[in-house]
Symmetry: C2
Subunit: 292 residues, 2 copies
């Protein structure tokens, strides 16, 4: 079978994966998602796992992206250096089975600030391919390791990763603030207060302890979880906006995170275009397939 008769796209991350079957018309014919992230696959087990996916979808060819190409995944694929567009990524696909099973490489930045990504590059190029954003847009992709991506002439020109989501999870699970950060996070008044402080360049080390101090002194803000999230995301957005002056900003990713980052971007007075992360992923894979 050839790619034009349909293919399978897999977004395979650290803790979960999502499988999309694409038919000969380019439509999504089936989707499955589960928590079989790369860490859940035993050593040497990827070939069988991928064979299982292909068997479910009539032996169609497969493109895999994300942490599957990391040193914890199936095959460690070399990063493509910036600037990287669809052509550079397609040419550097690692073929486990030539023309039939490929892994999309990640993108690295070695000059200036060192940085790496695996998976977000497909979504960035997909957001561009749909026409939602322009060839020189600034993309914000929230997540455990949030990415700010400055597109340049339709390629990934530069980017910066923020440990925002992971740091919030660490504080929530393991820090002295844990009992206070237990609640849900929404873009409420406490979130906006935290985001305003972050956007203004508040010092994180003292502002975080301040959450504890206000609690002890009965000066709490209602939702400490929202405030802490707002503080970190505001700080993230402040640094991310430094990367690039483009307007509007493409906000690509999960809807719950888009709501939070969108609120912080609005507070910063910036326009944005929201793009669903799954749609961007599929469009990015399609752009690569068209170059095969």
């Amino acid at each position: 079978m050839h790619w034009r008769d349909g293919y399978v796209a897999v977004d395979w991350g650290t803790t979960n994966r999502r499988v999309y079957a694409i038919d000969g018309e380019g439509r999504v014919a089936g989707t499955t998602g589960d928590d079989v992230g790369i860490l859940a696959v035993p050593a040497g087990g990827f070939a069988a796992a991928v064979a299982g996916i292909r068997a479910r979808f009539a032996g169609r060819p497969v493109l895999l992206a994300g942490m599957i190409g990391s040193n914890r995944g199936w095959v460690e694929t070399a990063y493509v250096g910036c600037p990287a567009g669809a052509a550079e990524l397609a040419a550097a696909i690692h073929w486990v089975e030539p023309g039939a099973v490929g892994i999309v490489p990640g993108v690295s930045q070695s000059e200036g600030r060192a940085d790496v990504m695996r998976g977000e590059e497909v979504q960035a190029l997909g957001a561009l391919a749909t026409g939602a954003i322009g060839p020189d847009a600034l993309i914000c992709h929230p997540g455990t390791h949030a990415k700010w991506i400055a597109m340049a002439g339709g390629r990934i020109g530069a980017f910066r990763t923020m440990m925002t989501g992971e740091l919030f999870a660490l504080l929530r699970q393991h820090s002295i603030l844990a009992p206070q950060l237990d609640g849900p996070v929404t873009a409420d008044d406490a979130f906006l207060e935290g985001a305003a402080a972050g956007l203004a360049g508040a010092d994180l080390l003292s502002e975080l302890f301040g959450i504890r101090a206000r609690h002890v002194l009965d000066l709490g803000r209602g939702s400490d979880a929202s405030y802490a999230s707002g503080l970190l995301i505001g700080s993230d957005v402040r640094a991310g906006l430094d990367l690039h002056r483009a307007e509007p900003i493409g906000l690509v990713g999960r809807s719950d995170l888009r709501a939070l980052y969108g609120a912080a971007l609005a507070l910063a007075g910036r326009d944005m275009i929201e793009v669903d992360g799954a749609e961007a992923f599929l469009a990015g894979i399609r752009a690569l397939v068209e170059l095969l």
Copy 2:
């Protein structure tokens, strides 16, 4: 027995305690330290624990300071608000047994930036009492929750707590950086590179992920643990120096942490006077005892 015939001073923290017996001449007659922090004492067990300490030291009166006065300790004592000097603290000692067993209150700041301390106030007043620092000095007290204390007319005028030590421990134990932060931390070149970035106002969220990216790209700095520590401490010192213009700075605490903060302060071009934390604690307790 009365205080002038000798007493016992206990610095009782979350995870350890240190007990000092002071003789009638004001000299240290005995010291014990162990890991029986407040969390290691069962509910209702503090009276017996303190009775045990007194029994070992001829029934001398006892002053306790630190987290023993928190809601996780023996008796939750009310904070004394800033500005707070030895007179205010001595007057607010919580007497579990009148005149014989007292708990030194912590200090709070409710106006402006909310903040709290328990234990460091004794060291700050002690550093002043020894004459090592002046009545309007800026004190830096490194630790899990580092304190910057602006003295004003011999009292604690204002202060700011930084989550520096706790955040480093979280990153080292639980984050994606954990495998890289495993090594020892010293004031080496990597530490100074990190401290310079922190002092210059580097964005922590991206600089921390950059440690991971540099490792993945084989652009490591030798000691990632030292670099990360330097980055956090440099950021801490940058914000702490904002509090107060006093020169030199009193650097009070453990010798290993003084070495790191001292290197960052030197990089910032600031003079400092180092004061051992245990000596400052004893001088602070003595200053309170003299007011009883």
